[in-house]
Structures are given as structure tokens and as C-alpha cells.
Subunit: 399 residues, 2 copies
């Protein structure tokens, strides 16, 4: 009999969103008159920017005309988009070489597929609480994971440990905690990676929410990072592309490893080989939409949307400040990560919020053991619902 | 130092299309007056069908309006598309259960990513000549590959060997040879798979080119295949989606393997877990375009395009019949796989065709050792170029 990858038995079934859906369904059945406000899943609600839609429509029409039809494109993305992304990095003060940007269908795919490039003997460092994809994709390969605990003492920003690690997952601004590493903290991580011969996999999916100019939006703003880091980013939250699907990954050209036989393997070349072999590129239409994001008009429009969500985040943050409930995030991030009051566990607080305020969030326990006792709310609802949720939460929790 | 996947050293660098491009460039520089006709890469040239473009435009516009905007969709695809694909299978006499169809960004991704589900101790059977993705994705994992030679004696349709195999890649109609398995041959493969406890990975990307109703378009037309086969298909060639990116994979619900610890792993559930963890679905816009393919009007339009390419294939086939050059394909397939005349090797024939007729094809050696001495031409050019290429080839090769 053929054999299967039995490491799939080691992945926890992710019941959290199923369980949330079930509890919300039960509540709605029992209280059909109550309007439930959903602040659980990190999905956007504003439509795509006008400039982006125009580009999508134009590109769709091009596909219907022989002279402007596009067949197979380069797997790593069209130059018209890769160049705009390089310019976007340049605007952060980061200089990229030609061929370092790879366009993809989203940060999730790339963060997951990058595991292909590494050996199974690596020690993987993952912060807890965590976006579950880092954990599950490594468990699927039977790799050793060491968790670095985030908590109130470190502001949910774990720093380099005293032990060795080979592959380091960092996400800043963090999902789910909204915490953001500052330059000194990221520099410490880069120094650790260089000292240990480790590689940092840096998830920058929420970089566009950073407003404090002293905070780094890219790991490549840190000296030395191009020797030891790969960065993943996405238009999902930057430009509302959760259902449109486009992201990008930067793999510096200079990162090389000597194989056991003495030959050199270059990570950039390996990722190119991986993508050309196992991927066929992002739809032409979608790449034209993504290109429009980076035009002056597109950037102006998406920044208005980001400001809208950031104002929601501020409304949530002000609410919990007023209630005296500790939290991270809310600034420089679309997430609010709050401590469940009165020592409640995260599912108990979920039930309290659902039954007492008809507001749905995500129990922190769904993001790892260190998430127990915490709770995530997102700023991606619309303004009216955010304001109403805050009023309901205050009425429920004010003592 | 972190370790990399050193199996990447075992993959042959795929120089073929680079080398083709270099030789064509040199020829064009030396003969700027000669019009080069390209029949090398299997990319389509007709634009998307009108119905599909209308659906893409409409969906793009929906994304710009809050009420019709779509964020994250189900990773396995929207029901509106999965149901149309199930109906398409029903039209072939194949009944699929709910949840057996997975929408993806193309057959290449799924054929490559399906390797995630299997153990590295499997013996992989691959026909030679071959679409290189099957080979490279298994080499990247260090798996043992046994090649089954296609040649004139078996019509480039290798049959089950006398030795054991665990994972079997079959492609019919075949890329690159254009050869098509009949029902009895596929039944023999299904019987072999069941006797050996093997799984068949069936690539049906060219099924829509089959016109002979006695030939199977899906492996699931064969009794017992739902116990031992996964099927991959794509709209790339069916509907000109090479740059639009949508395909689908059928994983039957009944295929289960007992793990070493006695637990049961179900392939359909594993693929669902793989896709929900490592993929975020196909863009909503693209899925609406794909849905339009399966409407009566869409099917009518794409069938006209397929007929156009099939007529090109017939023109090529008639040319080589007239020249007395043996070939496979040309009927039920967009590919012509011909024997290089006078015992030439495939690069020698490439040079002859380029220099003598300014026609570009693909040397068979690029598809594996068994491809040496053969040559692939595609029917995806436009009519005018196909006719001109045939005249030039006849003038060059007629004795």
C-alpha cells in the first residue's frame, strides 16, 4: 500500500472557527431579534479601491481581445508589478535588487510553501500566541518546534532565547496580538540570527498599519537583515485583497548555504526553482489590479481605507483603556489583543461577550497555549458596527 | 547554520526553454527579415470567450461595491463553481459526491502540491517522455522514481510494469506525446493500482481535446478508479486560462490509508487540510470567470476555440502523414509528437527546422531520455501561421 504523510496526525484539528460558528448559530437561533456584530475573523469589509477596480475591469477586457490577451506569464510575476513593489520598498528606504521580489497569490501560500526549501533537521522557533499556519506547516513536516512565550512581561514580543534556533518566524505587527517590534528589538533578532546561522522568516502582512515612523515596516530596514531574512507581505489587508489574492515575498540574493557535498545552494535561486516548478503565477488580471494599488491614486485610496480601519482600532482601544482592561495593539495594527477580565479563560469571555453584547471575537486560546486568558478583536468591521459594539461592551463590562 | 533541502541539487536545471530562446534570438538577429513561427510552448493564442470576459468584468465591478464585495472565500472554492464542475463530470457519466471537487489556481500547482500528502518511502512510477513537473517535484523530496519507457512499440502509452509501484503518474491525452489511453488500457492501470495498493495521479488537463467518444476523458469513467485515483484538470487549455489561472482536482472521499499507529487517514480530508493550511483559494473574480465557462453559452464558445486548435492539429497531422514521418497525437490532442527524420537527434532537428523553415518546436529530449529522437509541435498557433509553417516544413523535408 502507498504510504501517506503521517505527520498529518500530529496537527491539531483547527476547531476554533467551526466552534465559533456553532456557538454564534445557536445564539442567533435563540435570539433571532439580536443583531450579532462579528469582529472575529480578520477579513476586510470595505470594497476595493476605485483605481484597482478600473484596472481589473480593463485587464479583464484585454483578455477578450487577441492582441491584448495574456497567456502564461512569468511564474515570479510580471515586471510591471515587481518594479512597483521595489519602488514601494524604496519609499521605506529599502533597496532591493532585480529578481528579489516574487509575486504570489498571498502571504499564506508563501509562508507555507517556503518550508519546501529547508531541511527537516532544523530547529524552528515560533512565538506563541501565533498565526497557526507557521505551526501547522512545520508539524506537517515533522519538524521540531520550540515556542517562545509572549506575555505581559515582554509585551507579547518574545526576544531571542538563550538556546539555538535555525528558522525563526516573526510577525510584526503581530497577528493576533497587534504588538510591533521596534528597531532595537528587530536588530537583536538579526544579531541572534547571524550569530546562530539562522534564517528569519518575517511576516510583514500588516506593515501598512504602522503609523509611528520610528517603527520598522520591513525587516530589511535593519542592518544585516538581507544576510539572514526572507520577508512576506500581502495586499490582503493593505488593499483589501483578501478575496482578490495577491502578495509578494522578498528573498535576498545573497543568502547561501553550503551543502554536505560542498556545493552552494542559494535561497533566491531555490525559491525561483520552487515557484517555477510548483506554481504558475498570479492571474494577469489580478496583477494589473495589484499594480494599480501602487499608483499615486491607488496609494491615496488604500490609505483612506487603512485610516478608516485604524480609526476603528482606536475606538476599540479607547474603549478598553476606559474600562481599564489591559491590551496590546490598537495602534499600528488592526488587532486588539485584550486580557480577559476577572481571570476568565478565553472561551468564557467569548460566551460572555456573545450572550451579553452579541459581539463575536476570537478566543486567544485558538492562537496557542500562551493565548489562553486573552481575546482578539479586529478593526475590520464598519464604523457603525464598531461604535455599536463598543457601546454594548461598555454597558456589559463597566462596573 | 540552518540546513536547506539538498534534494534541490538533484534536479536537473531545465535549460530547454532558455536554450530554445537563445537559439531563436541568434537566428532572428542573423535573419531579421525572416518571420519566426513559434510552435514550441503549449500556450494558447485565442482570447478568452466573450461570456467569460463578461463574467470577469461583472465580478471585478462587484468587488468595488460594499454590498457585493467578496473577502476571504472557501479555500476549496465557491460552491457556485464546484457545483458546475460536478455537473461537467456528470455530463461525462461520472457522479461525484459533495466535497470531492477542489478549485485551484491550476493543475500544475495541485499536481506539484499533492506530493505533500504522501510518504517519502513510496516508489513513484513516471512515464518517459514526461511533463517535467512530475519528476522535479518528486526529486525535490528525494523520492525513488522508476521510469516507464514510452516508445513506438507501445504507442508512447506505457502499461503497468511487472514490478511494484506505489504512486503512478498518468497523463492522457499525454503531454508531450499526444497519445491517449483507451478504456481497456486505463482499466489495466486501475487493476494494477488496486492489486499493488497504489494510487494513480491522473492528469486530465487535455481531456477537452478528446473527440472520439470511445476514449475516456476522466479516469473516473473506469470502474474502480474512485478507490485508487486522484484527478487533476485545468481550464488552461479547455478555456484558454493559461494566464487566468483556474483548475480543479477531484479527490474521492473513499480513499483511506491506515497509519502505523492504527489510525485512519483519509486522502480527501488530508487534501482539505493541506489546502486550508497552505492556500487561500482562487480569486473570486477568476472563479466567476470559470463558472461562466460551464454555462451553455460558455461551453459553446470554448468548444469553438477547441475546434479551431483541433483543426490546426489536423493540418499538422496531415502534413506529417503526407511526408511519411511517424507521429502520435494530432487527433484528440493539441500536440503532435513526431519522429525526427533520418535518425536525427532532437536538437539537430530543432536546428534544421529553425534554420530551414524558421519554425520553432520543442526537442523531445527536453521531456526525458525517451524523448530523444522525437520532437513536439503544438496546435495553439493561429491558423495562418499553422498553414504557413506546414508549407515551409513540406518544402524543407519533401524529398
Amino acid at each position: 500500500m502507498f504510504s501517506v504523510n503521517e505527520h498529518y496526525l500530529d496537527i491539531k484539528q483547527s476547531y476554533i472557527f467551526t466552534e465559533i460558528a456553532a456557538r454564534v448559530r445557536k445564539f442567533s437561533e435563540e435570539h433571532p431579534d439580536k443583531k450579532v456584530i462579528r469582529m472575529g475573523i480578520g477579513d476586510v469589509t470595505l470594497p476595493l479601491a476605485k483605481t484597482v477596480v478600473e484596472a481589473l475591469v480593463k485587464a479583464s477586457q484585454e483578455m477578450g481581445v487577441k492582441e491584448t490577451f495574456h497567456g502564461y506569464g512569468p511564474e515570479q510575476g510580471y515586471d510591471f508589478l515587481r518594479e512597483r513593489i521595489s519602488e514601494y520598498y524604496a519609499s521605506m528606504g529599502v533597496t532591493l535588487q532585480d529578481g528579489e521580489v516574487f509575486v504570489s497569490d498571498g502571504a499564506k501560500s508563501d509562508v507555507a510553501n517556503i518550508t519546501d526549501l529547508f531541511g527537516n533537521d532544523n530547529v524552528v522557533l515560533i512565538c506563541d500566541p501565533v498565526y497557526p499556519v507557521y505551526v501547522d506547516t512545520n508539524r506537517m513536516l515533522g519538524r521540531t518546534i520550540k515556542f517562545l512565550q509572549g506575555d505581559e512581561s515582554n509585551g507579547f514580543l518574545p526576544m531571542p532565547p538563550s538556546f539555538h534556533g535555525d528558522i525563526i518566524y516573526l510577525c510584526s505587527p503581530n497577528n493576533p496580538t497587534g504588538a510591533v517590534y521596534d528597531r532595537a528589538q528587530l536588530k537583536a533578532w538579526v544579531d541572534y540570527a547571524k550569530a546562530e546561522g539562522a534564517i528569519i522568516l518575517f511576516d510583514a502582512a500588516y506593515e501598512s498599519f504602522i503609523e509611528d515612523p520610528s517603527l520598522p515596516r520591513s525587516i530589511f530596514e535593519i542592518d544585516g537583515a538581507k544576510d539572514c531574512a526572507i520577508e512576506f507581505c500581502s495586499l490582503s489587508k493593505t488593499a483589501g485583497f483578501t478575496g482578490t489574492r495577491c502578495g509578494y515575498t522578498v528573498v535576498p540574493k545573497g543568502i547561501e548555504v553550503t551543502a554536505k557535498n560542498g556545493k552552494t545552494l542559494n535561497l533566491n535561486a531555490m525559491w525561483m526553482r520552487r515557484q517555477t516548478t510548483k506554481f504558475n503565477g498570479v492571474p494577469y488580471i489580478i496583477q494589473r489590479g495589484a499594480e494599480a494599488v501602487f499608483t499615486p491614486e491607488g496609494l491615496k485610496e488604500i490609505r483612506e481605507n487603512i485610516q478608516y480601519y485604524k480609526q476603528n482600532a482606536k475606538i476599540l482601544a479607547d474603549c478598553f483603556t476606559e474600562l481599564g482592561i489591559p491590551f496590546t495593539g490598537g495602534i499600528n495594527s488592526p488587532y486588539i489583543w485584550l486580557k480577559c477580565p476577572d481571570g476568565m479563560d478565553s472561551w468564557a469571555f467569548f460566551d460572555l461577550l456573545l450572550n451579553g453584547a452579541a459581539v463575536v471575537g476570537t478566543p486567544g486560546a485558538g492562537f496557542g497555549d500562551a493565548g489562553e486568558g486573552y481575546f482578539r478583536l479586529t478593526a475590520f468591521s464598519d464604523r457603525e458596527n464598531t461604535l455599536e459594539a463598543v457601546e454594548r461592551i461598555k454597558a456589559l463590562l463597566k462596573k
